[in-house]
Every structure is written in C-alpha cells, then in structure tokens.
Symmetry: D4
Subunit: 181 residues, 8 copies
C-alpha cells in the first residue's frame, strides 16, 4: 500500500475514532436513506448517551460527606438526566427531610441544567413552576455538565442554608474533574 493511501486510511480511521468517541449525548438520526415509517429495510434508531458512572457517583457521595464532616449533617443524591437515582446516601444524623430534599434538588438541577439556587428568581416570576411534580427550587442542587445536555444533577439537603448545601454539592461535582465530556 502506498504511503499516501495508508495516510488516507489512517486519517479515515482517526476520523472515525474521533466521531465514534463524540462524548456528549448526540442523537443518532435514523440510518441515512431510511424512510421514517416504512418498514421495509428500516432500521430502528438508537440513542446514545453519557452518564456519570456508578463508581464516580459513589465518590461524589463520599466527597459531599467529607466536605460536610464536622460541620453539618447532610444527605446527598445523584440523579441521572433520565430521572433514575444513580446513588444516594443519608448522612449520619441528617434530618428526616434531607434525603427527599436532596433527590428533588438533584432532579430539578438535572432538568433545567442549572443550579437550583439560580432558579429561585425564575420561580418567583412564575410560581406555577414550583408545582411541577418532583421539583424543588431550593439551593443545593447543581448540574453535572455535559454536551449537548447536562448528564445529571447532584443534590444535597440538610445544611442550615441552601447555599451551604450547594457548597457541598459542588464538592461532589469536583469528582468529575475534567471528565464528563
């Protein structure tokens, strides 16, 4: 094989590798040429997406607890973009409302891909937003960034103030480091 075609093949392979490794939740459209709705030869499309791994989620929980250790008693949850709870923990001596609070904050952050602390103003303008089942527009939830949409939300509940809850949530988020692409 000539160097030129080998280089071309290498380039093609590299391009393929880059495309395949597209990190974020890119939707694969239907295979080219397939006519929506026609069965003959159609191939169902799949949707590929990215999630915080379970191992990382447990690290996030540990990081939240460590950040709060000796100061506050909190609970934490990491909720996937799809609504499932990846992991959660009830902190030692954390209040009875702390777990459900953490879950709802995580869900809300994962839904709007914004910290719940930022959403407060939005809700003031439209109180009906707070009626969305499963939501909680209190500081303490932060999104895990991703492309094109956030991957998950981390929620913390039980500290005396929501801003402190958010502080601990960000300690958990730090476990993603530069990851999550």
């Amino acid at each position: 094989m000539s160097t030129k075609s080998l280089a071309g093949a290498l380039l093609a392979a590299a391009t393929a590798a880059v495309l395949a490794a597209a990190p974020a939740a890119a939707v694969d459209g239907p295979p080219t040429g397939a006519t929506p709705g026609s069965k003959a030869g159609a191939q169902g499309s799949v949707y590929r997406d990215t999630h915080v791994s379970a191992a990382t989620a447990t690290k996030m929980l540990a990081a939240v607890l460590a950040a709060a250790e000796g100061t506050d008693r909190v609970s934490a949850a990491i909720v996937d973009r799809n609504g499932t709870i990846i992991a959660k923990v009830r902190g030692d001596g954390a209040g009875p409302l702390s777990v459900d609070s953490a879950i709802a904050k995580a869900k809300t952050a994962a839904h709007f891909c914004r910290p719940t602390s930022e959403m407060a103003g939005v809700v003031e303008g439209n109180p009906r937003l707070a009626d969305i089942p499963g939501s909680l527009f209190l500081a303490g939830g932060v999104p895990v960034p991703g492309t094109p949409v956030c991957l998950a939300g981390i929620g913390v509940g039980g500290a005396p103030s929501g801003d402190t809850d958010e502080q601990y949530a960000r300690a958990g988020l730090a476990e993603m480091g530069g990851g999550g692409k």
Copy 2:
C-alpha cells in the same frame, strides 16, 4: 515512518476506532493513569450506553397495535435497561390489567435479557424469583438485543395467551430491524 511502524500505527488506530465504536453498553474505565480514589488530577468516569430511541419506541407501539388489530386488544410498553418506561400505550378496549402486565413483562425481559416465556422454567425451579419486586414471569416480554447487554424490553399484555402477547411483542421488536448497534 517505516511500513512496519505505520502498519502498527494503523492497526492501533483501527483497534481504537473499533473499540470506540463498540455500539453497546461498553463501560469506559477510568482514564488511564488515574488512581482510583485519588482526587488530584482524577477525572470522574462516564458510562456510555445505547437506548432504543423514543421515535423507534413509538413505532414499536404502533407495530404491536397493528399486529393485534382485529384479533386481540392489547397494551404494550417498552422499558429501558435502566428501568424507565420509554413508551407505553393502552390498546382500545384492552383489559384493566393489561398495561401493568405489559410493563412488568418488559422489565423482566430487560433484566434477564431473555424472553419471559423462557423464564417460566427457571422460576419453577426457584419460585422465590417471582417475588422480585416489579417482575412478572409470564410470556409476553422480549428483550431488545444489544452488546454487551440488551437495551430494553418490550412487553405486551391482554391477549388470551401469553404466547400471543409474545407474538405481538416480536412484531414491535421487528421495528429495530438490523438496528440496535
């Protein structure tokens, strides 16, 4: 660059491309070099997986209804490997137990990556399996294949026999065609 090293590089690139394009739910291990548990420089790991797309799921529902049309009144559900319901439909005049039956069959097929009709024998040997919350070991649920693990389950309920339910579920599955990569 020598041909040998170029070939080696090409092989490496091709391998990387193949690995990166592995369609099914391959787990990305932590970035090389990261020491589990050490925060400094660590990157949280992500988990990439594949799902039946929402558009395909609605086609599956339509296919199930079309297959049963004029003969039976059934309901159907497509449940993701992660437990979420991607889509569901209550058929016209389908029985009151048909939807929850379809969901549970779909979940069970998605969990064991086997048709529920095949699981009956397994449960006979271990009746306690039937106590697993959310499970239903009745024919009518089939997995949507994937690598290395199935992507979802399609469940149908309401036909006079579970084998007929399964027949309709497979009509839905046919919408995946050669897809699901």
Copy 3:
C-alpha cells in the same frame, strides 16, 4: 322525490343508523381512504365504547348491600374495562381487607371477562397468573357482559366465602337487567 331515490335515501339513512348504533365496543377503523401514517388528509381515528353508567353503578352498589343486609358485611366495587373505578362502597362493619379485595376481583373479572370463581382452575395450572399486578383470583368478581367485550367487573369482598361474595355481586349485576347494549 321519486320512490326509488327515497328508498335509496331511506336505505342509506338506515344503514347509517345501524352503523352508528353499533352497540358494543366496535372499533371504528380510520375513515375509508385514509392511508395510515400519511398526514395529508388523514383523520385521527376514534374509539367508541360503552360503559356502565354512573347511575347504574350506584344502583348496583345498593343492590349488593341490600342482598347482604342482615347476613354479611361486605364491600363492593364496579371497575370499568379501562381500569377506572366507576363506583365503590365500604359496607357497614365490613372487614379491613374487603374494599381492596372487591376492587381486585372486579378488575380481574373485567380483564378476563369471566367470573373469578371460574379462574381458580386456570391459575392452578399457571400459578404465575396470580402475579399479575392488581389481580385477585378469588371468587366474588363477575363481568358485566357486553359486545364484543365485557363492559366492566363487579367485585364483592368480605363474606365468609367467595361464593357468597359472588352471589352478592350477581345481585348487583341484576341491575343491568337486559341493558348493557
């Protein structure tokens, strides 16, 4: 108007009347000429069905209570083919399990369009049927007949034996008289 065209008009009107008055849960296929899936000119199809009226359902409850009066303390429920509870009553002094028992029997009768007393043998041959969420294969539930599928189920719970429960359920069913068309 000529006799011939009048007769034709009469025939057309009669046909329309007959079609429109199709009593049971006949599915109206899409308007003739519409191609499934094509939007241009398509009309969504509707499904017409028949239900036990709310007023009749309350009479059924009263009939069940009257039948049991002085002998047994029972609860009763009428559950629609679609799974909704049309009406229910907790009898005076009826046992704590009687209402949920009545509902589940009604659902089961409405699903299989058979008295639950008849289903016992079926379940013995396939114990997994009893795992269907919401089902209860105990005597006391009877279907409300209809065409082409039963309209609802009447369930009664709380009598010392399921056969007695069924007796009371049939007293409720008698309120349909020759109705249900």
Copy 4:
C-alpha cells in the same frame, strides 16, 4: 307504502341516525318508562363515549417528537377524559421532570377542556385551584376537542418554555385532523 308514511319513516330514521351518531359523550338516559330505583323490568343504563384511538395516540406521540426533533428534548402524554393514560413517551435526553409534567398538563387540559396556557390567569385569581391533586397549570397541555366534552388532553414537557411545549402538543393534536367526531 304511501309517501306520507315513507316520509315519516324517513324522518324517523334520520332522527334516529342523527341521535345515534351524536359523536361526543352523549349520556343515554335510562330507558323510557323505567322508574328509577325499581328493579322489576328496569334496565341498567349505559354511557357511550368516544376516545382517541390507541393508534392515533401513538401517531400523536410521533408527531410531537418529530416537531421537536433537533431543537428540544421533550416528553409527551395523551390522557383520556376518564384519567387513564392512553399513551406516553419519554423523549431522548428529555429532562427528569418532563414525563410527569406532560401527564399533569394533559390531565389538566382534559379536565377543563382548555389549553393550560389559558388557565394561568384563572389560577392567579384562585390559587387554590393549583392544589387540585394531579393538576399542573403550566402551558403545554391542549384538549382534544369533542362533543359535548373534550375527549382527552395532550401534554408536553421539557422545552425551555411552556409555549414551546404547547406548540409541540398542537403538532400532536394535528393528527386528529378533522377527526374526533
């Protein structure tokens, strides 16, 4: 037959046809002559109504997804007037709150037979309306028209604004075309 009696018969048939073809949820009163509460000779009354067919509901889901494709990630639900979910879908990458939001909007639209966007002003005047279990007074829900009462509600959740959700819901509604009679 004389012209007069033929005309009379025609009129009768036409009237019957009109009455029988009353498209929406007309309640059949008890058979004439039946005395409420008297069992002898009474016929239970039935209630006939009209529903969005399951097949059409799946088309609606597909239409919503298609309308949002490439722009927003949404979920959708069609909820029957009687409260049952006819069909629902979780869109690819749609937020964790999107499904329950869609369901509640659909229910609310189906209950008031008005778009939820119109209800906001009503709720402002009576905030207690927002406490109705299962309701959500946020734009994104539209009724499926019918006579004398709407047939169902279509709800969409997950777009950045409720007005956009409503836009997608109307794309789903378009599947009814001129249907719904």
Copy 5:
C-alpha cells in the same frame, strides 16, 4: 322501697339512660374506679361513634348524580370522619381530576366540620393550611352534621364552579334528612 330511694333509683336510671343514649360520638371514659395505667381489674375503654350508613352513602351518590344530570358531569365521594372513603362514584364523562378533587374536599369538610367554601377566607389568612396533606380548600365539600362532631364529609368535583359542586353536594346531604343522630 321508699319513695325517696325509688326516686333516687329512677333518677339514676334516667341519668344512665340519657348518658347511654347520647347519640353522637361521645367518648366513654374508662369504667369508674379504674386507675389509668393500672392493669389489675382495668377494663379497656371503647369509643362509640356514629357513621353515615353505606346504604345512605349510595343514596347520596345517586342524589348528587341526579342533581347534576343534564347540566354538569361530576364525581362525588363521602368520606368518614375517620378518613375512610365510605363511597365514591366517577360521573359519566366527568373530568380526570374530578374524583380526587371530590375526595379531598370531602376530607377537608369532614376535618373542619365546615363547608370548604367557608374555609377559603381562613386559608387566605394562613396559606400554610393548604399544605396539610390530603386537604383541598375549594368549594364543593360539605360536612354531614353530628354531635358532638360531624360524621363525614360529602365532596363533589367537576362542575365549572365550586359553588355548583357545593350545590350538588348539598343535594346528596339532603338524603340524611333529619337523620344523623
């Protein structure tokens, strides 16, 4: 026996008769002489109370439906002081939110022993009352009077206005006539 002792005996008997016949939910204190907490010779105390009978409850449902017939499509519920649903009905074509609305209004009326229409002002002064789980401070719920505390609540939901719902609820209440002692 002397007149004096006979009169005394008569007075004692009359007093006993009056006390024993106290119709409403009078609490029987522990038998005289029993020391609270001491087991020897103690008799557990019982609490006697009064309920709307099941038969009357079904009549109430029928009365509500009859009152609304031809005008509105409503659902109704009678909820006991103890929180159990004595009876409920989903009206023909009533909205999807109507049943849960009726139940919550009934519960609220039974809890405060006041029509829910009257409670609106109270809630305005203390919005947190509306957070009480299971409550709904919307017109449409009325108490069934009793002594010393109301027996139950009747709730109606689905009419265009809560005041109309209340009107229908009162039609149901009329079934108590002079009863409820």
Copy 6:
C-alpha cells in the same frame, strides 16, 4: 306518683338504658316507615359502632413492649375493623420488616376475626387467599372481640417465631380486660 307507675317508669328507663347500651356494632335499620329510595320524609340511616379507644390502644402498645422487654425486639399495631391504624409503635431495635408485618397481621386478624395463627391451615387449602392485598397469614395477629363483629386486630412482628409474636399480642389484648362492650 304511684309505686306502680314509678316502677313502670323505672322499667321503661331501664329498658331504654339497656337498649341504648347495646354494645356491639348493631346496624340501625332505616327509621320505621321510611321507604327506601323515596326522599320525602326519608331519613338517612346511621351506623353505630364500637372501637378500641385511642387511650386503650396506647396501653396495648405499652403492654406488648413490656411483655417483650429483655427478650425480643418487636413492633406492634392496632388496626380498626374499618382498616385505619389506631396506633402503632416500632420497638427499640426491632427489625426493618417488623412494623409492616405487624400492621398486616393486625388487618388480617381484624378481617377474619380470628388469630392469624389459625388461618394458616385455611390458606394451605386455598393459597389464593394469601393474594388478598394487605393480608399476612403469619402468626402474630389476634382479634379484639366484639359483638356482633370483632372491633380490631392487634398485630406484632419481629420475634423469632410467630407464636411468640402472638404471645405478645395477647399481652396487649389483655388491656381490654372485660371491656370491649
């Protein structure tokens, strides 16, 4: 007043007292003369029944705990004939399944008015009984006697054997002493 009429008055008063004090759950039929279903002059009927008082229920809980003290760690519940939980307690260090077990045993005992230990044989003959929602046919539940039907059930869960649970339940039942009239 003459002795004779005084005696007669006394007798009348005594009879009234006896009748009014009829202890058990006697159903008051509709007032004599009222025609079922006719509104004019009808009086709704009420149902009077007897309950374990709340104060006695707390004593029962204490008695169960005291009986088990130092030997076993159990939880207990007293469930009313109408299905409501009158009182319950989670014992110190009692197992995670103990409370729901106690509640279900109490409900089952209150439903059949028999100790759950006696029901085991019945269920063996008809396994479908065990499918009744909310039931648990394990020793540890005993009825609180009453006339004509038991008043409640006391359930205990968490001891190594159900017979021991029943032993503790009977210690609670002893708090009724000769009461329950």
Copy 7:
C-alpha cells in the same frame, strides 16, 4: 503502682469514660491510624446515636391524649431524627387530616430542631421551603432536645388551632422529663 501512674491511669480511664459517655449523636471518626479508602487493616466506622425509646414514645402518645381529653380530638406522632415513625395514634373522633398532619409536623420539627410554630416566619421569607417533601410548617410540632442534635419530633394535629396542638405536643414532650441525654 505509683501514684503518678495511678493518676495517669485514672485520668486515662476518666477520659475514656467521658468520651464513651458522650451522650448525643457524636460521630466516631474512623479508628486512629486507619487511612480512609485503604482496605488493608481499615475498620469501617460506626455512628452511635440516641433515640426516644419506644416505651417513652407510647407514654408521650398517652400524655397527648390525656392533655386533650374532654376538650379536643387530636392525633399524635413521634418521628425519629432518621425519619422513621417511632409511634403514632389516631385520637378518638379526630379529623381525617389529623394523623398525616401530626406526622408532617413531627418530621419538620425533627428536621430543623425547632418548633414548627417558630418556622412560620422563616417560610414567609422563603415560601419554597414549604415545598420540601414531607414538611408542614404549621404549629403543632416540637423537637425532642438532644446533643448535638435533636432526637426526634412530636407532632399533634386536629385541635382548632395549631397553638393548641403545640400545647398538647409539649404535654407529650414532658414525658422526657430530664431525660434525652
């Protein structure tokens, strides 16, 4: 043994006794020397905490009922810091909303370690607090003090005013006396 070493031993023993007897929910850090995350030789840490005993909880219920006896009909609940219900009772004739109200007030008091009556002002400043699942910011809940965090909450519901509910809750709290260490 020399005085010095004896004093040293005494001091060590005294220190150990003080540390071991730290009454409240002191977190035991991992055993000295253990490196977090390293498995070799690591010992999992435990968390010791203090709870209102079940026996005391039943006394609290009795005290609440006794305080309200003859005046109001209330229900009560004692909820542990960890969210479990230690004990609860439905008072004779207490309203249908009273139990869930008591539980939510208890949870809220146990979470913030403050009487719910005090929290009203806080919620006015941040209405979103009232959206925390399971919370109820109405007077009637009081914390059971402890160190470093409250042990539980006692909630009462059903009196005409929340302040009266709180009064009864404090009667229950008095059962702790000087306890709770």
Copy 8:
C-alpha cells in the same frame, strides 16, 4: 488521695467506662427509681444504638462495584436495622429489577440477621414468610454483624446468580473490617 480511695475512684471510673462503652444496641432501662407511668420526676428513657456510618456505607458501595467490575453489572444497597436506606447505587448497565432487589435483600438480611441465602430453606418450610411486605428471600443479602443485634443489611442484585450477588455483598461487608463495635 489515699491509695484505697484512688483505687476505688479508679474502679468506679473503669466501671463507668465499661458501662458507657457497651457497644451494641443495649436498651437503657428507665433511670433507677423512676416509676413507670408516673410523671412526677420521671425521666423518659432513651435507646442508644449503633449504625454503619454513612462514609463506610459509601465505601461498601464502591467495594461492591469494584468486585463486580468487568464481570457483572449489579446494584447495591445498605439498609439500616431501622429500615432506612443508608446508601444505594445503581450499577452501570445493571438490570431494571436490580435496585429494588438489592434493597429487599438488604432489608431481609437486616431483619433476620442472617444471609438471605440461608433463609431459603426456612421459607420452603413456611411459604407465608415470603408474603412479609418488603422481604425477598433470594441470595444476595448479608447482615452487618453487631451486638446484640445486627446493625444493617447489605444487598446486591443483578448478577446471574444470587450466590454471586452474595459474593459481591461480602466484598462490601469487608469494609467493616473489624469495625462494627
């Protein structure tokens, strides 16, 4: 200080230290001298117990995931003796039934303080045990030992066999090391 009194003080301190350090869930009886039920001077009793710390629980989750890594896809839960979930995680690509399975196994192990694998034989002899709400008698749950009662249960679900689930659960248990005192 004399040797004798010093020795006595030392003995007292040592005794206090021993008593205070009683590791397991010892119930503190009421303070000596307090008469049960008498309010004057009574002190409520407290119950001290020991829990797996939140930090350790997260390590357990990580250990389970690490043990299964590359072989199986599992979920895990640590459930406290009191029934609360201390922590849980859904493994990457773990089946839809795996989380609820893990929770139920953990609860069952924590209730009986025995591995669920050992309980299978017990259930065979008494099938009604499997009806206990929340239980699951499938291998995969192991108790965390403690004195006098186990502290918690660790449950794992999703491996092809329950014995493998148990293997992973024991990897989590190993995080307790010699701890749990």
